[in-house]
Amino acid sequence: MSVETETLSPAEELSNFGRARRRLLSNPAAIIGIVIVVSIVLAAILAPYIAPYPNHAGSFVDFRHRHNAPSLEHLLGTDNVGRDILSRILFGYRVSLLLVVGVLGVAVPAGVLFGLLAGYFGGIVETGIMWLTNVMLAVPPLVMALAITAVLTPDLIHSMIAITVLWWTWHCRLVYRVVKSVVAEDFVEAARVAGASHLHILFREILPNCAAAISVKTTLDAGFVILFGASLSFLGLGVQPPTPDLGTMVAAGAQFLPEMWWEAVMPGFAVLYAILGFNLLGDGLRDMLDVEI
């Protein structure tokens, strides 16, 4: 058998995945991101077991210990009805992660699907979908969410719906842009010459080439969904008391600023911690997968 004598450099022989993993693990910021995200997920799952006062997550009231400053007994202090803030933050992450999974679980597939269709078929499909997304993106997100939650009763499901309706457009635009450049590659035409169906070309040829961009964007989004959900409940439009939620806690604690600073600052830091974690992880993934967002 005659095979050309061209040789591959060691870097090329190393599989894509192996190279990418090395790039991720040599990035300290990404490692911090992984640690933070894992800690948040664990906190949410194990909240009933690791929270010092699991019963404080509900409508517990203990006026003897209200407005206690951080101490060994209550590491992050207590709120205006004497509930342990640390315990409520741990349970609050459950709501945040539920929001992330609910919103991105619908918005990402929907956005990806519309982006694929618009980028691949072009013409009237492209014009229609891209006009719709551009109009949606032109509406200030918070105003839109306020309008939706004002019409519906404010609760977790409805704020999820409000955020989802806004969020898919970002993924649609991103995937649309990636598809536009992938479609220009010869392998798409080659698949057509091989007689492949639209379904095959869309999901087997093009979609895998968008996977890197989608996963980076989704990771970065997770942090922003948490922030957006917290903003909604800060305004009283999200999760209703007594369910512990980071945004509601900041809103409740803000009344007692600056004397009882921990009541607003501690849940605020919890939001910051989560966003920081997802952003560091997202940036690490972006460097590792070598994509532009």
């Binding site: 590659e185 010869d186 080659a190 010459v193 007689g195 095959h200």
Partner: protein, 566 residues
């Protein structure tokens, strides 16, 4: 005045690249000597280390990945590697200049050509410790542009890079390099990215400038024919080593190293006894095209008046017989790829008819049976193979769709196909990035053959490969044609390759077929002035071939070429 030492002298240069903690040595004991006034060339295929050597001379090695492991580079007696960064910078553009390969990416698109040139001059002056005013710089710039044979220097200076043609941009790059009367001019594959007629003009210009200005030229190229045209002394590089060097005439007539011999043999001859003459196999016509027209409508933009459509192909007619290797030659934008795509049924016609086996493809082209009749191999396998799919997955696509091969028979067929293109069976599980360029192209050929087509359109299948690899792929294609009774439609801009590969050839010029006939007839007695100019521009390896080429006067060239000659 005889210089006491060579202008450039590289001795035992060793350079390594560090990645992920391991250092790979890319240059091994490179020796190179260029005397003042000499025209030298470094030749090698991709990855041979020729560009790294040049970067080491100019001082633009990627930092900190590249490491000089030893050796010396002396310029005009001065050791470059021990110079401080600042002293090194001072040499750039003033003593040593470089002409880059890609004339588009070498410019910043948001600045005019005038701003580019002025910056170069201003900072070069500043490095030399002199200051200059804008007007005197302008005079010098215009003089240099005229030297690079650019007409209307004022208009060129006002233009943005995208407003100039590739040939003009290359001339501006040459002017930029000449601005400060450098002692040594390094030319990195000049004109390679351009059409052969433009490349020819650029090489003539370089030669003329070198002799007029008494420059020392160091040419870096992969094209041996270009070396013959522009150099007196040549260094052959292979995997980071200089394997052979000597005067051009000597190396070309009596190469000592097997690598050089292989390199020389791999280049298809244009004229002479070594030319392979291909004969027609039969008289049965399989493809006929009658007055084919392709019009591209400019997309309508919001609130803009409609633009005139572009005529990519005008009234092209051709007929291809069974077993033919039919070549369509032409430069970029001539419409050759558009014709190919219409014949494969990827694009509707704007006028005329195309028939395959006497049946019009207009309504047939969406049928799987049509897909089994005709297939295509693309120019660049890096783009035509999906990076996320293994070889087996890629080959399974035509089998599953056009071929309708049941699932359990596909693995067997994939093994057969790999054997057909002479690849080991275990390549089935590899991803494209684990294959070399030639291997990728073999996979692309295997994909085209998967459904046993009778006609294969080859759209510049070897233009992204090194010459030695090109030869093996062409040999494979010829073998497959004989074994499987295929008919090829070969699209290319490489006329010396077509001379040896095709039995019929059509030359396209601005959307029209300006000449067609048996390959030997077209090359021995070209009729159309464009064909004559095109063949005359091809760089060749021997003086005998140079004389056999059609003689074309400057007036004739000007009549058919979008020339930048003054």
């Amino acid at each position: 005045m005889a210089a006491p030492h060579p202008l450039l002298e590289i001795e035992s240069l060793n350079i390594g690249f560090a990645s992920y903690g391991q250092t790979t040595q890319v240059l091994h004991d490179v020796h190179l000597k260029v005397e003042a006034g000499q025209r030298a060339a470094v030749i090698g295929e991709s990855g041979s280390g020729k560009s790294v050597t040049m970067k080491a001379v100019i001082g633009t090695l990627p930092h900190p990945a590249a490491r000089v492991l030893g050796g010396s580079i002396r310029f005009d007696g001065q050791e470059l590697l021990s110079l401080s960064r600042r002293e090194r910078e001072r040499l750039k553009g003033t003593d040593i200049s470089i002409v880059h390969q890609d004339p588009l990416t070498s410019f910043n698109p948001v600045f005019t050509i005038g701003e580019h040139l002025d910056d170069v001059l201003k900072f070069a002056d500043r490095r030399l410790g002199t200051s200059s005013d804008a007007r005197s710089r302008r005079t010098r710039i215009e003089a240099t542009l005229r030297q690079a044979q650019l007409k209307e220097p004022e208009r060129v200076l006002r233009s943005y890079p995208f407003q100039l043609s590739g040939g003009m941009r290359q001339r501006v790059l040459i002017a930029m390099a000449l601005m400060h009367r450098p002692k040594l001019l390094i030319a990195d594959e000049p004109g390679t990215a351009l059409d052969v007629t433009t490349q020819d003009e650029i090489l003539r210009l370089l030669n003329q400038l070198v002799s007029e200005e008494q420059l020392t030229l160091l040419m870096v190229t992969h094209n041996l024919a270009v070396v013959r045209q522009t150099s007196d002394y040549v260094y052959v590089m292979q995997s980071g080593r200089i394997v052979e060097h000597g005067p051009v005439r000597e190396i070309f007539t009596a190469p000592r190293m097997p690598y050089t011999q292989r390199l020389l043999e791999a280049i298809p001859p244009l004229y002479g006894p070594k030319v392979q003459h291909r004969q027609a196999h039969s008289e049965t016509v399989v493809i006929t095209a009658n007055d084919v027209v392709k019009r591209f409508e400019a997309p309508r933009r919001f609130l803009e008046p409609a633009k005139a459509p572009v005529l990519a192909v005008r009234n092209a007619s051709l007929s291809i017989c069974k077993g033919d290797v039919f070549g369509i030659a032409g430069e970029s934008g001539s419409g050759k790829s558009t014709i190919a795509r219409m014949i494969v049924g990827l694009m509707p016609l704007s006028g005329g008819t195309i028939e395959i086996d006497g049946r019009s493809i207009a309504d047939w082209r969406k049928d799987p049976a049509f897909r089994r009749r005709i297939q295509i191999v693309y120019q660049n396998p890096a783009s035509s193979l999906n990076p996320r799919r293994t070889v087996a997955e890629t080959l399974a696509v035509p089998l599953a769709f056009a071929g309708a091969v049941p699932k359990d028979k596909r693995a067997e067929r994939i093994r057969e196909l790999l054997a057909l293109v002479e690849l080991p069976a275990n390549f089935a599980s590899r991803y494209p990035h684990q294959l070399s360029g030639g291997q990728k192209q073999r996979v692309a050929i295997a994909r085209a053959l998967a459904v046993d087509p009778e006609i294969v359109v080859l759209d510049e299948p070897t233009s992204s490969l090194d010459v030695s690899v090109q030869k093996t792929v062409i040999d494979l294609l010829l073998g497959l044609r004989d074994r499987l009774g295929l008919t090829y439609l070969f699209i290319s801009h490489d006329l010396s390759l077509m001379r040896n590969f095709c039995n019929r050839i059509a030359v396209m010029f601005r959307g029209e077929i300006c000449e067609q006939g048996p390959t030997d007839t077209v090359f021995d007695d070209p009729q159309h002035p464009y064909t004559r100019a095109l063949i005359a521009s091809i760089p060749v390896l021997t003086d005998a071939e140079e004389q056999a080429k059609p003689q074309v006067t400057l007036e004739e060239r000007r009549a058919v070429l979008a020339s930048t000659i003054q």
